[in-house]
Amino acid sequence: MFTQQLMNGITVGGIYALIALGYTMVYGILKIVNFAHGDVFMMGMFLGMFFTQALGMHYLIAFPLAAAATAFVGICIERIAYRPIRVADKLAVLISALGVSIFLQNFAMLVWGTETHTFNSGIKVQTFRLGSVTLSNIQIGVIVLCCVLMVVLYLVVNKTKIGVAMRATSHSIVSAKLMGINTDKIISFTFGVGSVLACVAGILVGIYYDAVYPTIGYSYGLKAFAAAILGGIGSIPGAMLGGFVIGIVETFGAAYISSGYRDAFAFGILIIVLIFKPSGILGVKHVDKV
């Protein structure tokens, strides 16, 4: 029971972590919270479903196409809704993001309807028993893919030229510009990477739970945001850690205490951690200066 719940928690946590990475990377660079990110995740899910079902593609072709399309959506959001007001008050960006979120949700409702769809990816579910633990091939796929993507992201950010540019931009946009970095391009790239990760998470959720509906981005977005904050927003390892912590805590809470309060455990642990460590688990403490 315990190991089984732990595995379930890690699966859900990995998905939260993938979405949380999008929040944390955008925050790291622009210091804004991309409240539309949950809906980008939802769009990724629907696009994955659209390419496999409506266009009848094999999933190996459909999913990369869906990821590319989601990246395009993410880049367009930044270009249209955030770039013109990047210098304005942070709250203006927040409201703009909420507008984008309302727009995307209603767009999905118009195109695909408000009902719940099945995902039908063409991947067959198989279950394995390892001692007392039951695992499905999808669960293993989720965990492996999450870990691979995180390692890739870590390598991109820390070992490549564009990663250096990303880190420079997140330190200071102005100085990065002076060093000859095309910061607009880096910001677009960041939104693109975040959206690809959200799309992967969306497709994984679609396959794992086999249910797709337009408002799904809300609860996943909120919990992933909570995960990003819990780990210390702006920190990439923090988002991964936060995602797993939130996933495991809510799975255990639901299993051992009460399933009705599932989401309350996620937010409860967040509030408790922030009270004792206001900058999150791996966050850097900011010292204010006058």
């Binding site: 409201i95 703009s96 904050i229 937010f267 999150g280």
Partner: protein, 335 residues
């Protein structure tokens, strides 16, 4: 808006507005219009109270609907189970909501910006889950039906018109209290905290104290709005007090112009009216609403009644009659 700078004319303008509001139900008897007006009234209560926290004390809160919900449930439960008079229940709602504001604010107001936003958001979600899951008291997702109408001295307030007048009275009281707070020393201290906490501390303003005052007062007024709403709709369920409601209230405050009471009123009117006006487009309604929010922020990031406008007004009042010509001409250009 030049005439508003003359206090005498301002008073007359307010009086005219009041009379217009008072005769409104006699001119327009359509109950749908009255319902829209009442909704605007409730949202003005919520937006002006959130404005105290976000606009004046500078603390981003995404959980205002939780206090609204706590007020609604406390009021409804008292009226249903203990036959408490509406006005007593309203006071109880304000007190309980305020207490929850204090409870949430005490440990969390040390957090900065986005961290506070997510904590208040989490609080809102937890409160909603309690409404849903504490079925013995709240009847869970079924909600609480049959909440009685208010009565005062044996005279029952029922029907849209009576509720319309009640909300006007509540709005006036709220606006009066808010403007007194904002223009007092406490309000000035709040605005100092908003601009720079460390600088505020260095001149003897204890930031947490003023943030807490803003938080508790805002929560109490949201509680009042909740109690009124419960009695007006006569049925409450957890679906009203969700994250989306908090976001709508925040959008009203920001769209109207942060840190401005008239701004919050304008924001509440616009964000209630636009979705109603767009009803003829049915399916595309919210799609366009979302796009409008984005474009509004691109073209007027400071809101309808933004700071640039108001700061100039303050200068003009300070300059008095001695220096009116060039100043007002300058001002007109921006209006």
């Amino acid at each position: 808006m030049k005439f508003l700078n003359d206090p005498k004319k301002k008073k007359i303008a307010y009086l005219v507005l009041l009379v217009l509001l008072a005769v409104f139900p006699f001119v327009i008897t359509n109950s749908y219009y009255l319902h829209v007006c009442i909704s605007i009234g409730v949202y003005i209560l919520l937006a002006t109270s959130l404005n105290l926290v976000t606009g004046f004390a500078g603390q981003l809160s995404l959980g205002h609907a939780a206090f609204y919900g706590i007020g609604a449930y406390v009021g409804a439960l008292l009226m249903l189970n203990f036959d408490v008079n509406f006005f007593l229940a309203m006071i109880a709602s304000a007190v309980v909501s305020g207490l929850f504001g204090l409870l949430l604010g005490l440990p969390t107001l040390r957090l900065r910006g986005d961290y506070l936003a997510i904590v208040t958001l989490g609080f809102g979600e937890i409160v909603r889950l309690v409404f849903v899951n504490w079925a013995e008291v709240t009847r869970g997702p079924l909600g609480l039906p049959g909440i009685p109408s208010p009565s005062i001295f044996g005279f029952e307030i029922s029907g849209r018109t009576a509720f319309y007048y009640l909300v006007i009275v509540l709005v006036l009281i709220t606006l009066f209290v808010m403007s007194r707070i904002v223009n007092s020393g406490v309000g000035m201290a709040m605005q100092t905290v908003k601009i720079d906490e460390i600088a505020a501390e260095s001149i003897g303003i204890y930031p947490i104290k003023y943030k807490l005052i803003a938080f508790v007062v805002a929560a109490a007024f949201a509680g009042i709005a909740g109690c009124y709403y419960a009695s007006y709709i006569a049925y409450i369920s957890p679906t009203t007090f969700v994250y989306n409601t908090s976001v709508t209230i925040l959008a009203m405050v920001v769209l109207g112009g942060l840190g401005s009471i008239p701004g919050s009123i304008i924001g509440a009117c616009i964000l209630t009216l636009v979705p109603e006006l767009l009803r003829f487009m049915s399916d595309y309604r919210m799609l366009i609403f979302g796009a409008l929010m984005v474009f509004m922020m691109i073209f007027r990031p400071e809101g309808f009644w933004g700071a640039s406008k108001r700061v100039k007004n303050i200068y003009k009042i300070k300059a008095g009659g001695a220096k009116n010509g060039s100043d007002s001409g300058d001002n007109q250009r921006h209006d």
